[in-house]
Amino acid sequence: MSDRASLAERAADQLDERLGLAGGLRRQLNKVFPDHWSFMMGEIALYSFIILLLTGTYLSFFFDASMGEVRYDGSYTPLHNVEMSRAYASTLKISFDVRGGLVIRQIHHWAALLFLAAMTIHMLRMFFTGAFRKPREINWLIGITLITMGLLEGFAGYSLPDDLLSGTGLRIASAIMLSIPVIGTWLYFLVFGGDFPGTEIVGRLYILHVLLVPGIILVLIAVHLALVVMQKHTQFPGPGRTENNVVGERIYPIYGAKAGGFFMLVFAVMALLGGIFQINPVWLYGPYNPAQVSAGSQPDWYIGFLEGSSRIFPSWEIHLWQHTLPPLFWPTVVLPGIMFTLAALYPFIEARLTRDRALHNLLQRPRDVPVRTSLGAMALSFYLVLWLSGGNDIIAAKFDISLNATTWVGRIGVIVVPPLAYLMTYRICLGLQQHDREVLEHGVETGIIKRLPSGEYVEVHQPLGPVDEHGHGVLEYAGAAVPKKMNRLASAGRRVHGFFAPVEEPAPVEEPVMDEELERRELAGRPSDPNA
């Protein structure tokens, strides 16, 4: 044991003599990370990307990105002697003739769905808590770029097998390119190297999918994380937490152990999904054939909003001086362009309108910023109407509704629902704000009914802190969660333990008191003994 220790010491000593890393290493080990369940979304995105790199590398050893025709002679007998591209045949090979290949392929696909989902939810968390505000606008822009790159990467990936479903998706993509005014046909011939489908597109998508786009994503993630390290993580307001500090656990060892374990858990869920839940069974679809399509064809979830927008957009074709502007152009090029531009610019728009030029490291509770929260709800409901419209044929079939009615619901809903969402969210935010103040003033309802000597019944309220001569709480709202139930009293203002339900803990034996300032803040967010 001591031999090993001394060996490690000697190695570390030799390294440090050459590189002088000790101080920097200690600073990184001591880095403090705040802990909140909502901060895990970005982590999930990162972990799913790592899973994608691992499984994708494995798949690339077997996949043949060629559109050359072969007659299938592999193990999957139902497709014997069918003519297909090498891309499709090698996907069948991975699924049936590579031992364990199918589970890796399915993990890869599930992880891709998770990657996009985690990035999207991570973005929503950033938005609704105001984490994008100065000084973090750069990371917001990088995040938006990462999501667009993720969409491109996902689309390129699921187009590779050259099966009936992905080929149909590619044909729609080709129509979207054609719809662009002036340069549309040129772009179409440039991308496909001729008329659709040509013989080059799978090879081109492959190099985009395995080199170019993942390379860009990797660099952007590296910068994204480096900025988080440089600027330090945001935190929710609470006792002892200020704009000028970070309260949490150090990376080494506790936070690191939790994060490493969490990576394994994300990977475990992906392995379970990849093993048990079939995804993209391309052998059931058959090879791509421009004359065939199956009913209920659906893209991966993250393309659904574009599918929906093209379904509900009216058939408005514009003719200009012997030229045509197809209806497909608006919902698939202009609309996502506007959506992503607005999202990217939002931090700057908000700063301009609120004239807020301060640096912010403390997060906001969504209810405390009703306008932003309502705008977010509006954008989210707009997206959801589009997304649901992308599956309107499935909804119509499953619920036995007229297909055309579901289209009309989408057309009207996309205009009517967002403003309603804005109004409702705004009222909910105000209501929640008011409730916070009410509890701070009158205390928590205890459920205990007391009968006064006069015969009057009153409910006993538990004050959250010191009270004035009228029995009203004197605590000010400090941006932290206010306990609303008796068994949440101990959780007031501290980080919420547990995901779905708070974990109850015995009262702490010793209170970490650093100075009077901290003590005062502690009182502001935490109930004290009313008898004291």
Binding site: R26, N30, V32, S75, T77, R99, G100, V103, Q106, T168, I172, I176, S179, P181, G184, T185, F189, G193, G194, D195, F196, Q231, K232, G240, E243, N244, N245, V246, G248, E249, R250, P253, A257, G261, F262, F263, M264, L265, F267, A268, A271, L272, L273, G275, N289, P290, A291, V293, S294, A295, S297, S310, R311, E317, T324, L325, P326, L328, N404, P512
Partner: protein, 359 residues
């Protein structure tokens, strides 16, 4: 530089020195007398990290509760070992080849996924529980210094940049500056010009298809079709009877036999496109290029499964609902001397989605 500015810089520099925490750096002599825990705290203070709360989860070592927690965490790691063994055994020994008669291969992938998940979850749950149950409870506060750089850094950096720029002499050597700009700009073009290899001039592929006058209509198996082959109200996908016709992306055509009593109101100029009760339309949707496939013979409607555009056959495949804006192009057909369907020519308009150059 004025004296006031100088003293301000000094002050900022001294503030910056002190920003590593209020504690002075421990000298080596003190370090020798420190326990590792004390040295760790001293190092943390150097990094502006104050450990305000640190408590062992089990203040009394060796209690039953602690041993129970330790055993549970250890069990998680052992589970990983067992799961990896199971994964390996299944990987090597379980049947996995596809078979039409024996379904046992269908267990292979789920079992691999399950054991892999167990192996990963064992380490994952173990690590998280380890941190939560056995590692000390800790609350650390790290100082944050954000915002702009100290004034001295800002000004000296700007000065360095300006001085370097002056050293290049570009400010006064305007000829050199312009020539340099010209050369570098040209290099940028050099990076773009080779991309011209991607460009293909759009040719008439978008406006023509393999269909020609006299080409037989063949089914997916390449067999020609006679008028008697189809039931009233039915639809068949047909292709031009030329080599490669079955695979051509712009050739698929729907041959529809109308039901008795159903008539088509032809678009102007297409009055003689059908043959008796047969009509033929391009199968490629004019919206986004999917094959329109779902034919409802009762109403004579064709539905595209991609974006739900609907075309009415009795109105000469005019779009009646959904995002499509153009009728499906009709193919003029007739019957040749041998009694097989043939095309009377190519489509008279481009098939598939619209594009800019299309009038």
């Amino acid at each position: 530089m004025s004296e006031r500015e100088g003293s301000q810089r000094e002050r900022e520099m001294s503030e910056r020195e002190g920003s590593h925490g209020s504690h002075p750096a421990p000298i080596e002599r003190q370090l020798d007398r420190m326990t590792p825990a004390e040295a760790m705290r001293a190092g943390a203070e150097l990094d502006g990290v104050h450990i305000v709360h640190k408590r062992e989860r089990f203040p009394v070592p060796g209690t039953k509760a602690e041993r129970r927690a330790e055993r549970a965490v250890a069990l998680c790691f052992v589970l990983t070992f067992v799961a990896v063994v199971a994964f390996t055994v299944i990987f090597i020994a379980a049947p996995w080849h596809y078979s039409l008669t024996d379904n046992s291969y269908t267990w292979f992938t789920p079992l691999l996924g399950l054991t892999m998940a167990l192996a990963l979850a064992g380490i994952g749950v173990g690590a998280v529980l380890w941190a939560k149950w056995l590692m000390p409870e800790e609350e650390a506060v790290q100082d944050r210094h954000d915002g702009r750089s100290p004034e001295v850094d800002r000004q000296t950096t700007v000065a360095t940049l300006v001085d370097g720029w002056n050293d290049t002499g570009l400010a006064r050597r305007s000829v050199l500056k312009r020539a340099f700009g010209l050369g570098v700009g040209a290099l940028g073009a050099l990076a773009i010009v080779p991309l011209g290899g991607f460009i293909k001039k759009p040719k008439d592929e978008l406006v023509s298809t393999p269909w020609k006058a006299g080409l037989r209509l063949v089914d997916m198996g390449g067999r020609p079709i006679r008028p008697g082959d189809m039931m009233p109200g039915s639809l068949a996908t047909v292709f031009p009877g030329v080599p490669g016709g079955l695979k051509a992306p712009d050739a698929p055509t729907m041959l529809i036999r109308l039901r008795p009593g159903q008539t088509v109101q032809p678009r102007p100029g297409q009055e003689d496109y059908g043959w008796e009760d047969y009509v033929a339309f391009s199968k490629i949707c004019t919206h986004a290029g999917c094959p329109v496939s779902l034919y409802e013979q009762q109403t004579g409607r064709i539905l595209c499964p991609c974006h739900q555009s609907q075309f009415d056959v009795t109105l000469d495949a005019k779009p009646v609902f959904g995002p499509a804006s153009r009728s499906l192009p009709a193919l003029a057909i007739t019957v040749d001397a041998d009694g097989y369907f043939v095309a009377k020519g190519d489509y008279r308009e481009p098939i598939g989605p619209s594009f800019w150059e299309r009038p």
